[in-house]
Structure formats: structure tokens, C-alpha cells
Symmetry: C3
Subunit: 459 residues, 3 copies
């Protein structure tokens, strides 16, 4: 009663409605960036460019594809660890991301690249849209198994909107640097998702407890997600950095931080279990915290050892979070965080914001060179009065704004999602694909070792 999960009309109607609106809005607002417009060849000749390669496409496209893999395969498969929720993990992530990137192109375009009544879309917009959806994928991890696809689309609609506003405040108003999104993507996404899952608190969730664990092969599927996230994180943190040294440096720092994070995650995972056995949950998640935590500072002169230290600390804190904090949040604060995003995105995101603020505050001309410093932080509005420590303060302010937006936004959106007509499952049917999917009949997967032509299975 009240738990009508029948989506026959709700899901189709909302999907079609959203897509029709998107088509109309794209028709009115979206055009190609000059680098993607057929007039480019004339522009190129007029600017006397030496090579076709000076198209922004060639600076960003390989990174874009890596980010794309992280959003769809990385996040999608990371969440397949639940024994009976693989279809929903990978399928709903696919659905919300496909909707989210379109809506993000519009929202981010209106706020950041609106020129002459049009949003001009190029490869950098595609990356930023993927980034924005990344924060929704983070939040999805907190509510995984407990919400319907209709609720997810509604959540995506609002979260993308709030993300774009928050990003505008940080990047345009506060002139904060956050290329890898420690603040805009991870901190915002995590605390938004945690607030939503708190509002949607299910007191009787223990009824589906037995499905909240993994099975052997579902853990291996999840490792596909983990590894693609881990491997491509250097592309994530460098994708929208300045050309040249900044992209290059962001890759090196992220590579270093992630490597260190693996060792300390493994160390803590083993140390915290009796008999020293490793826990797949930590290997799947905590090893990634180092990528989150250098999101802001990766493009800065953090130095390779600085990146190692960040990864070192985050592997430890993230694993500790899984062992001690997640159970505490659930039992004492009513925060049911399915994937433990607080440990992978929440705390490491805040650490990333702080590391970024400190690294920015320490910037000087000796380290960056005169032109390099101006190039790295290119302050527009407060040019004359710009100092590194001022930048650091604005960075810190950006972190607080992100947290505030996440908490307030999550609170409101949580209550919207609580409305009783979105088709969410009953407590005893959470973490169960069969609620939303036609399930294949389970057959005993016994294979003949003998030649079936000799013993046909049906005589």
C-alpha cells in the first residue's frame, strides 16, 4: 500500500517529456562552437594558423573519451557489487547520465558559455557535462537500491541545476580553480546524496539486508568499474586544465596520488580485519580516494611528493571511514549510504578542497615563474590586488559554498523525492532488480563436457 512500483506509465511519460523539452530547448539555444562549425576553415585561414591541429578538439578529445568511460563504465560497474542489483546499477546509471549530460549542456551553457543568445557547444562542454553528471553518479551511490528510476531522473534534473549554479558561483564569481572537481563534483555530489538518503531514511531496511552484500562474480564486475575509474582519473583531473604544462602536471600528480592510495588502502584493510584478510569493499573504493583528493590541486605545482602524501593520507582515512564511520552514520544519524560515498567522495573531496586552498596560497613566482603564475591562476576581476593567499581564501570559501549548496539542495530535493507517487520499492524489496526489470529465468548453468552431437540434450 503506497508502494506501487508499477512504472508502466510514469517512467515512459517522464522520459519522453524530458526528452521533448530538451529537443525544443536545444533547437532554441544550442549551436556549434566555432571550432566545430563549418565556418572554421575560413577563420583558420584568416588567423593564419599553421595546422589543423590547433582545433581545441585535439587538445581535449582523448581526455574526453576517458572521462566518458569513467562515467558510464566506471561508475556503472562500480555499483554492480550488489548480488541482485547489477541491472539497475549499470542500467539506471546509464539512464540518468544520458539525461543528465543533455540537461547539463544547457544549464552549464546558459551560465558559462552563453554568447549572442546561443550556447556554443564544443568538446570542452561535453567534458563539463560529463563532469556534472559525475556528481549525480556520486549521489546515486548513496541511494543505490532504494529509489526508482523515476526518482533518479527527478533527482538528476534538480542536482544538475544546482551543480551548474554552484559551479558558476565558484568558477565565475569566486574565481576558484577546481579543474578536477574536488569541490564542485565530489564534495557537492557526496553531501547532496547523503542528505537525500537521510531524508529518504528507511527504518526497516534491514528487511532486505541479505541482498545488500555481494557475491563472488558481482565483486569481479565491480572491479571493472574500479579499475577504469582508477586508470582514467589522470584524464579526469587534467581534462579541462590549461593546455600544455597544466594538463601534463595534473596527470602526473593524479597518477602519483592514486598509486600511493592503493598501498595505504591495502595496508589499512588488512590491519583492520581480524586475521589480516583484505576486504573487497576497500579495494573497490578506498583506492580511488587519492584521485578525488587531488582534484583541485592536481594542475597546481603540488609536486609529486605532495601528491603521494595526499594519496597516502586518503587511503588511510577512506578505509577507516568504511570500517568505522559508515556503520556509525547509519545507526546513529540514519544515513544509509549504500556505496559508502562519504568515504570515497565526501571526506576526500573536503580534503581535496583544503589541499587546493593551501597549495594555491603557497604559490609564488619562484615556483611558477612570473608568466607561469599569471597563466596558472589568470585572475580577471581582481587582477591588481591578486595575491596567492587571497586565492587560497577564495578557494576555502568555495569549499564552504559547495557544502552549503549540497546540504540545502539535498534537503529540498530529498523531500521532493519523498512524495509518494514516484514508484519506489518497499523496504523488503530494496536492492532487487526484479522490481524494475524483466528477469531472465535462472537455469542451472551446467555445460556438457561431452560432445552434444552424441548426446543431444533433447532426444
Amino acid at each position: 500500500m503506497g508502494w506501487n512500483t508499477n512504472l508502466r506509465w510514469r517512467l515512459p511519460v517522464i522520459c519522453l517529456l524530458l526528452q521533448v523539452v530538451l529537443v525544443v530547448l536545444f533547437g532554441v539555444f544550442v549551436r556549434y562552437d566555432p571550432d566545430a562549425d563549418a565556418h572554421w576553415i575560413e577563420e583558420r585561414l584568416s588567423k593564419n594558423m599553421s595546422s589543423d591541429l590547433d582545433n581545441e578538439f585535439y587538445f581535449r578529445y582523448p581526455s574526453f573519451q576517458d572521462v566518458h568511460v569513467m562515467i558510464f563504465v566506471g561508475f556503472g560497474f562500480l555499483m554492480t557489487f550488489l548480488q541482485r542489483y547489477g541491472f539497475s546499477a549499470v542500467g539506471f546509471n546509464f539512464l540518468l547520465a544520458a539525461f543528465g549530460i543533455q540537461w547539463a549542456l544547457l544549464m552549464q551553457g546558459w551560465l558559462n558559455s552563453f554568447e549572442g543568445n546561443y550556447v556554443l557547444v564544443g568538446v570542452e562542454n561535453l567534458i563539463n557535462a560529463d563532469f556534472c553528471v559525475g556528481s549525480v553518479c556520486v549521489a546515486f551511490g548513496a541511494v543505490l537500491g532504494k529509489v526508482s528510476p523515476v526518482q533518479l531522473l527527478i533527482m538528476t534534473l534538480f542536482q544538475v541545476t544546482l551543480f551548474a549554479v554552484n559551479e558558476y558561483i565558484l568558477l565565475e564569481l569566486l574565481e576558484v580553480k577546481d579543474a578536477g572537481g574536488s569541490m564542485t563534483i565530489h564534495t557537492f555530489g557526496a553531501y547532496f546524496g547523503l542528505t537525500v538518503t537521510r531524508i529518504l531514511y528507511r527504518p526497516n531496511l534491514y528487511q532486505s539486508k541479505e541482498r545488500q552484500s555481494s557475491v563472488y562474480h558481482s565483486d569481479l564486475f565491480a572491479m571493472i568499474g574500479t579499475l577504469f575509474l582508477w586508470m582514467f582519473w589522470p584524464s579526469f583531473n587534467s581534462a579541462v586544465s590549461n593546455h600544455g604544462d597544466a594538463q601534463h602536471r595534473a596527470v602526473i600528480n593524479t597518477y602519483c596520488s592514486l598509486a600511493a592510495c592503493v598501498l595505504t588502502s591495502v595496508a589499512l584493510s588488512s590491519a583492520l580485519q581480524k586475521k589480516g584478510k583484505l576486504d573487497m569493499v576497500h579495494i573497490q573504493n578506498a583506492t580511488l580516494a587519492g584521485g578525488v583528493a587531488v582534484g583541485t590541486a592536481a594542475e597546481m605545482m603540488l609536486m609529486p611528493y605532495g601528491a603521494l602524501i595526499v594519496g597516502f593520507i586518503c587511503g588511510i582515512i577512506s578505509t577507516l571511514g568504511f570500517v568505522y564511520l559508515t556503520p556509525f552514520l547509519e545507526s546513529h544519524l540514519g544515513i544509509q549510504d549504500t556505496c559508502g560515498i562519504h568515504n570515497l567522495h565526501g571526506i576526500p573531496g573536503i580534503i581535496g578542497g583544503i589541499v587546493g586552498a593551501v597549495t594555491a596560497a603557497c604559490a609564488n613566482t619562484e615556483m611558477y615563474g612570473q608568466k607561469g603564475l599569471a597563466h596558472a591562476f589568470d585572475p580577471e576581476s581582481f587582477k591588481a590586488s591578486w595575491t596567492a593567499s587571497l586565492q587560497g581564501k577564495f578557494q576555502a570559501a568555495g569549499l564552504f559554498v559547495s557544502l552549503a549548496m549540497a546540504l540545502v539542495g539535498g534537503f529540498i530535493v530529498g523531500f521532493i523525492l519523498k512524495l509518494p507517487f514516484w514508484g519506489q520499492a518497499a523496504d523488503e524489496n530494496c536492492f532487487e532488480d526484479a522490481v524494475y526489470w524483466e528477469m531472465p529465468k535462472e537455469q542451472n548453468i551446467t555445460h556438457h563436457s561431452e560432445d552434444p552431437t552424441l548426446k543431444p540434450s533433447e532426444p
Copy 2:
């Protein structure tokens, strides 16, 4: 009787024979493209090039690798959805593609890049060879589970040949634009495969009906294929486009079309099932139709909203096809289309050809600029008389040629494959890996939760 699936000599002999012939033909005909030849450095100095980056390699290589992943992991894993046919899906796809790319390098080289008695091979040839094999992978989807690897190699041999001829007619004679291959790859591949499977009609296929469905984890493996196809399709449609804006634009259009397609596929999948549950078959396949259908027009000034509309329509039509058309084709026309390629490649391919023709016919200098228009369509033979509407007519003609080639070619090749000595399986042994593979003994995969050092499994 007549169903001798023993491949002991047939498969080795044909593999070795084909490979020996390929070695000889490569020895006689294939050399490096100037950009891949050690003389390049002299050429570069003589042309006074400013940078090593003006090697074609740097324009195409990232896209090539994405296409490569689509052919081998994308198509290979997409077809692992069957419960007992995963080895064959991914293994035979591997085999036919590895053979096909070599044969395609030769066939396409002879027809399109034959210079001074040599086929000069560079990265663009590698991409085109992968494209050509893509059409074989499409056709493989129709006959999946019903043919032997020997038949697949024979089919590849002929289909690659016909593909190259068809491509030559379209691109060289009709001067059609088809960068993403809606016509040459998808329409041709699909109707070729459907014709072949019609000729190979098996009236008693119901005998292996119980193996024609999926199991839980096989559906997750298939999603790996789906997602890599979906994510890298922008690279597919832009891989051989003109440098700069055309590649950039093709990526944006494909990204948009695919995103829209996901939402309408999900909408229809839910609307067409009682209780509104989603069907994995639709999510695995129909979500990709948007990529097929912008194959021709992606590099043109289709506009982002144009791409969204194409994706919108194809998600709907493709899902409808899976629900209504595939069963009809099987029961009334004897077309047993295992993977439903008609819905994913057939109809969307035709739509793509039409969209391309219309978009080309609407091209004008306002939209492209004077130089941009000439650059985009670079008509060589009919330079003076070229008009956009003429281009549109040639595009339409290209679509019909592709269809005709596919039907006639599939008819002939189907009868060749019907010859009784290729080792195909009996009706009751279709969709069964054990016919062609040494199968692992199935053990009960129970894992000890306890420490095995205390309770060793064998005391």
C-alpha cells in the same frame, strides 16, 4: 548425419590457408604510407613542416583505438548475452575480425589507395579495415549461434570483398559522404546478414529454444559490450572525417543522438511491457540505434537539436522493432535474427542514409561558409555542376546501391554457406559452446568463508 561438427581439419586448414595467402599478398602489394615510412623525416624537412605533429597519426590514432575497442570488445561482448554461447560470441568475433581486417586492408587498398603498384597503408587504412569488419560483426549478430567458425570465415571473406566494392561505388563513383557508415557499414551489414540467415533458415530451431535466452551474469557481460559501443561511437562516426571542425562536429552530433536515444528506448521498453518493467534486450541494443542513424550526417551541419531528433526517433523505432517486428520476421518470413540486428542496424541504417541525404540536400553557403561548403563536400568530378540537392540525390542513390548489394550478395553467400561440409551444428545444438569448445568442468563455486588454513579442504 550430415551434422558433422568435428572441426579437427577443416578449421586449421582454412585458417592456415587464408593466412598464408595473406602473407604472400601483403608481400607483393603492401607497403607503408609516406607518413609511416622512415623517409618521412626527409619529406618533412623538404616541406618545411613546423612540427612532428603534422603526421596523420596524431589526427587519427586516438579515434582508431576507440574504434578498435568497439569491434573487438564492443561487438564481442554485446553478443555474450546468450547463456551458453559466450565463448563463441567473443571468440569467433575475435577470429573473424582478425582475419577480416587483413583482407580488408588488401581489398580496400586495391580499390581506394593503390599507388604505383602498391597499397600504401597508414592509420586511416587501419580504421577503414576496422570499419569494414564492423559490417561483418553486424551480420554475425543475425547468424549468431547457428553457424560454425568455418562458415564465419567464408562469410567474412565474401562480405569484406563485397563491402569494399560497395564502398568504392559509393565513395569514389557516386562521391557520397558516409563517414560513420550508416549505409556502407550498417545498412549493408544488416541486410546482408539478414539475407544470409534467411537462406540458412532452420525450421526446427525451437529445439534449442531454452538456450536462446540469457542468464543474469551473461546480461551483465553484454552490458560491457553495449557501453563500450555507446561511449566510443562518437569516435566511430568522426574517425575518418576531415581534420578539425568536421571531426569535432561529428563527435558532438553523435554524443547528442546517443543520449536522446537512451531516454526513448527506456520509455518504450517500459511502456510496452506489462507492469512497466524494463527489458535488458532493449537497453543493450536500442540505446545504440542513435549512433547508427547519425553515421552519415554526423559530420554535416546537422545541428545538435537535429541529432537529438534523430536519436529520439530511433530509440522508439528500434524498441518497437524488438517487440513487434523481430517475432514477425521470424514467424512469417523465416528470418531468424538472433541479436535483432534489423532493429539496431537495419532500420536505423536506412534512417541514417535518409537523414544524410536530406542534410546534404539542405547544405548552403550560409550554413557552411563558401570555403566550408567546398571543403565539406569536396566534389571532384562534377565540380562545376555540383549543387547540394544533387549531392542529396547521390546520397539517396548510395543507399539503394547498398541495399541491393546486400540483398544480392547475401543471397549468393547464403547458398555458399549452405553447402554441407562447413561443420555447422544440428538444430538442437545451436547456441551451445560445447559444440566447438573444450568446456571447463562445472564445479560448485562454493567458497569458504572460514580460514582454509584451519580447515583445509583436503584433510
Copy 3:
């Protein structure tokens, strides 16, 4: 007794200790390469560079990411074929590689890019670190299932050190060309690993025989590894080649060799089994031998048909090795080679070294051009006296040095790993994840086809 696999303190202590040492050493020694340093913009202006693209980053980064995928997903999943060792295969590979790349950055940096008291790290160093770890992943294949993670970290520590020394001797002292690492990575890694596994010989390994085979889905997971290795091998062999034609040519040669290798592997696999059935072990492994065997010569003017011939031969030899040599090595020489690395990396690596030596010895100005020849082999120390045949001799010498280093190094490291306090498993507990991992409770994965809202699982 003596088989205490409890890692509670050993694994955490060694992980944390190694990581702390790495942080300190990075702090003292590692700085950014000029192309990744914020001063780059000043350098660029002073050098009057025309474009941001002349940063080394844009030449190497896409290849780097492909190599990265090969190390972590490729090798990691390739080894998941064992039925109960998937967690360890992918997890320990993750751990050792994350440690190894950091240690390799230092070791290779000290020996090869040490400038003014600092190791200057850029994207090429990241690739080389991945390469170095690749040789450890190869060796891991030999000892898979029989060593503890602590032993693996110790092995990685020593093997990376020896790799860097061997690489220094080959590339700097002998001025050998080995861009794809047939000698430095594959030959060295394989014979090192085989020697280690010989020293660690377990006479009673038959006690865990039943876990040394695969199950249906573990073989599919392994195919993910195989395919990513196969697809990205062209990037592997070209990643550190000279800009332009050399990278381009290395891709073409590797693509050709790998394609040919698939057909001959399939042919032999079928021919050597009664009834002609295919064996997954051969498809997963022997198909890759062609990539190993063109590692040295790929960037040279090997010619496409030359690459086909190499692949042709290696597919045959590698498959023969799996069928005849691996059992012989185990029963007669006590070499228990879990993954058959001798067939995939050992013999093909030696063939690759020989092919490279012959191809180098045949180089001439007609084939390369005057400038091209100097550019391809750029001999520094013995400039005047350089001849192609001399280069060939040095190449051959490099192969012998690699073999000697591997055998001697493996012998010593094997005895170090034999020390009784590293936590290795007893013979009857080999190939068993439960020794080192918290295992998920195995539930019967039956899914309701009915609507669970009607029949809740817990009434």
C-alpha cells in the same frame, strides 16, 4: 606449521613502510619535467613555439592511457581465469603495479633521466614505469596462486630494480633499440618469473589441482583481459618510439602481427585437440604472442608482410608450447608456470629479440633514407663506426644480457622469497582467494521472475 598465512601485521607494515620510503625519496629526488612545469610557458615563448601542442604530452598521452589499461585491466583480468582466484589475480596485480610504478619512476629516473640532482618526471617516464611494471606482471603470471601479497611486493621491489639496471645496460651502454620491450620487458620478465617459480617449487601442488582450472564465467572475465591487451598492444609497442613515422609504423606492424597470430593460434588449438575443439587457454594467451614478438622490430622497417610472418610463426609456437612444453617443464624441470608465461612472453620474447637484431642488421639507406637511418638508430657514442650489422650484433648481445640478468636475478630473488616468514599458503590452499580475502557469503542467486511486491520475500 610454517604455513602461517595471517597477514594482519606483515602486509600493513610492509605497505606502509614502502610507501613512507617512497614519499621521502620522491621529496628528495623527484621534480617535474620542463614540459610539465609551470615555467614551461616562459620556455615556450623564448623558443618561439608556434603551438601549445609541441608539449610532449600530446605526442604520448593517448598511448600512455592505453598502456595503463593493459597493465591494470589487461594483465589483471587475464589472470582471473582461475575459478577461485579472481580477487587475488586482479587485486594483487593492482597492488604490485601501484607500488611498482612508483619505485620504477625512481629507479629508471636515477639511471636514465637524472639531471642536476633531480629526476625530472614527464609523461614518458610514466609510460616507462608502466612498462617496467609490465615485466613484473609477466612474472606474476608464473607464480600466480602460490605466493602471498607480501612476497609479491618483495618480488616487485627486486625485479623493478633489476629491470632498471638491465634496461640501462641495454639502452644506454649497448645502445640497443627495444621500444616495445621484447627483450627488456618480456624476455626478462618471463625468465625471471620462471626462475622464481622453479626455486619456489611445490612438490605437492597437485593437492589444489581442482582449483587450477577455470569455470565458465571466469574464462569470460579473462577474455576482457585478453582483448584489452590485444587491442592496445599497438600503443604499447609505439608508446616511446620516435615522433611521427616511427610511432605510426610501430602501430601498423603490431596490428598486422597480432591479426596473423590469432588465425594461427586458432588453427593450432583446433588441430591439436581431439575432435578439433578450441581451448580457451590458447585463445586467451597465444593470440597475444604476435605482439610480444614484434616488440623490438615494430618501429623498424619490418614491412607489413614481415610483421605477418612473425605473428604467423608465434601463434603456432605459442600454442604448441601450451600443449607440449608447459606440461614437460612442470613434470621434468619442476617449473610450475601457472599462466604459461613461457609460451606467451618467454619464447616470443626471444623471437622478438632475434627478429629485432636481424631487422636492424638489414637496415640500409635505401630503405630508410640517409636522414631516416640516422634518425631511426641515432647512435651516439660510436657514431662514425656505426654500421647496421654492428647494431644487429649489439641487439643480439642485449638479448643475452637480458636472459642472464633474468636467470641470475630470479635465482637470488627466488631464494629470498623462500624465507619462511612471508605468509605464503600451504600447497592444499593454493589458488584460493579465501586465504587472503574476506569472502562474500555464497547465496543461491535465484531471482524472482514474479513481481516481488506481490510476493515479498519476507512475509
